[in-house]
């Protein structure tokens, strides 16, 4: 099996701040891979660096066997799409769902727009009734579904998920996660998912990488994490923190 995403020694520098310090990582095709760590550990920056939104100082990123240069071309965006953390900020406030979904099709000159939009909305569990709504007429969960539909409409093979459920309440979280699971199974997608919630990562991902201060701490499988078979102190602390408050 080839690697869907292979990253070697990736460095990201904002002004003088090194947000990523030589991170390497390999995501296999069809795999769901998790990135965990506290805020500021560089996990979201890693996703942004892959999409070209963060300035890469050195290192290489290879997607489906093709090394990426400084700029990303349209073909790249048909392979890789991203779902953002905040569903309230990721939908244009003045566009209907219809317009939002049409935009990627117009950019890539795809002809069967009508059908694709209907299919995409069905796929994420939103019927036709949602097609002409504005973002402010949708709930948080519905917005995130629209964001997922938008990411899927170009039929990418890799989906980058930047804490896709952290802004949603618990029951909606489960719905959206199940939707993502289902979509992944049906479309045989590769997921690279960022979360600070270990429970979500162990539920969704087969393998994961723990990050701290822009560096990789260790790479684990989900079962290792569930069994607490970890070798680094930092990961142990994370695990303890995720168990929540314990009454003394």
């Amino acid at each position: 099996m080839t690697a869907a995403i292979a990253i070697q020694g990736l460095e990201v520098v904002f002004d003088r701040f090194r947000a990523l310090k030589g991170v390497s990582l390999e995501v296999r095709e069809g795999e769901s891979y998790g990135l965990v760590g506290e805020s500021g550990s560089g996990k979201s920056t890693l996703l942004k660096a892959i999409t070209g939104l963060a300035p890469v100082a050195s290192g290489t990123v290879t997607v489906n066997g093709k090394p990426l240069g400084k700029t990303r071309d349209k073909a790249f965006y048909r392979e890789v799409q991203m779902v953002f953390q905040d569903p309230y900020g990721s939908l244009h406030p003045r566009q209907t769902v219809d317009r939002l979904l049409q935009e990627p099709l117009a950019i890539h000159g795809i002809a069967d727009g009508e059908k694709r939009i209907e299919r995409a909305l069905d796929e994420v569990g939103l019927g036709k009734g949602f097609r002409f709504r504005y973002a402010h007429q949708l709930s948080g969960g519905q917005r995130q579904r629209v964001a997922i539909a938008r990411a899927l409409i170009l039929e990418p093979s890799i989906l980058l998920l930047d804490e896709p459920t952290s802004a949603l309440d618990a029951s909606v979280q489960a719905e959206v996660l199940n939707l993502l699971e289902e979509v992944r199974r049906r479309r045989k997608l590769t997921f690279l998912m960022v979360s600070h919630d270990l429970a979500i990562i162990t539920h969704m991902c087969e393998r994961l990488m723990v990050m701290q201060n822009g560096e990789a701490v260790e790479t684990l499988t989900a079962s290792q994490l569930i069994g607490h078979r970890v070798s680094e102190d930092y990961t142990r602390n994370l695990l303890r923190a995720s168990e929540g408050f314990v009454r003394a």
Partner: protein, 306 residues
């Protein structure tokens, strides 16, 4: 139309789940309209502007006399009367007719300035804000240079260079009034350029041109419309000022500012010659200001979750 059909139409407009593009757009317009019409003063402003439009459109019907040819022998400087509602000027022309025809020139100036200045400001501002870096620095410094001149003085300089006349006055006012629009558009652009929804479009592979044109400009337009409407009073006054100084409309054009200028000579004995166009300018400026205030309430993206 029965009360029931009105009720069902309102429900159709306010529907949470519109069934077509048209319904979504109309519903949105209806919500804006409701917000706008809740403001009584804004409605008054709108009525004044509609009245101005009607007067300009039907000037031929509404004006009883010619605006340019007067009766020098019998009708010089007559006081307001039933025959001449606002009196006559020093060349025996009916002031009411001149004001009615003058509405056309006022609209001509205001609309031309708006359609020249607003797009320039919008383009400069959004490009500067979105591109950042050197492009931003150069464009904004140019804007600053234009802003540093007093508006009327710069307009005067342009008219002096281009020659007097209403077209050149329009050009001069347009050249001096775009910088504030560029500032507004840039500020709006800066607040949205790093938002996730713009990043999402970048991740679709959209070109910067497309992002600015289709995603950023629509967000800047409402604050720009508000600002332009509020500026219209200023535009009318600047045009009147240029006319007053003899650098705008040339005789015998019935432009309101030029009319005041020619009435100035008799202001103590025949006050109506200057007072009538002055009142017209006052009312129309007030109308634009009230309309602009109302539009701010209706269109401002920050008020309510439009």
């Amino acid at each position: 139309m029965s009360a029931e059909t009105i009720q069902s139409r309102r429900e159709w407009l306010l529907s949470d789940r519109p069934a077509s593009r048209l319904q979504a757009r109309l519903g949105r317009a209806y919500v804006s309209w409701r917000r706008f019409s809740a403001n009584r003063l804004a409605l008054v402003g709108m009525l004044i502007i509609i009245a101005l439009l009607v007067v300009a459109a039907f000037a031929d019907v509404l004006a009883p006399y010619s605006p340019t040819v007067g009766d020098l022998k019998n009708a010089r400087l007559l006081a307001p009367s039933a025959a001449h509602w606002f009196g006559t000027d020093d060349l025996g022309r009916d002031i009411y007719s001149r004001i009615v025809y003058g509405a056309r020139w006022t609209l001509y100036v205001v609309i031309l300035v708006a359609i020249i200045a607003a797009p320039i400001g919008l383009l400069v501002g959004t490009v500067a804000g979105y591109a950042g870096g050197w492009t931003d620095t150069i464009l904004m410094r140019v804007t600053d240079i234009f802003l540093a001149f007093p508006k009327l003085v710069l307009a005067l300089a342009f008219v002096a260079a281009l020659g007097p006349g209403i077209e050149n006055a329009v050009l001069a006012i347009a050249i001096t009034s775009w910088p504030p629009y560029a500032r507004i558009a840039r500020a709006e652009t800066l607040t949205v350029r790093n938002s996730d929804y713009i990043k999402a479009v970048q991740l679709m592979g959209a070109s910067p041109f497309r992002i600015v044109l289709r995603h950023i400009m629509p967000l800047c337009i409402s604050s720009l419309i508000i600002r332009v409407t509020l500026d219209m009073a200023g535009i009318i006054l600047t045009a009147a000022g240029l006319g007053f100084l003899g650098l705008g409309a040339q005789p015998p054009l019935p432009e309101w500012g030029a009319m005041i200028a020619s009435g100035r000579r008799f202001i103590l004995d025949q006050w109506w010659v200057a007072a009538a166009p002055g009142a017209a300018i006052l009312i129309v400026s007030l109308g634009f200001n009230l309309l602009g205030d109302g539009l701010r309430d209706a269109l401002d993206p920050r008020s309510g979750d439009q």
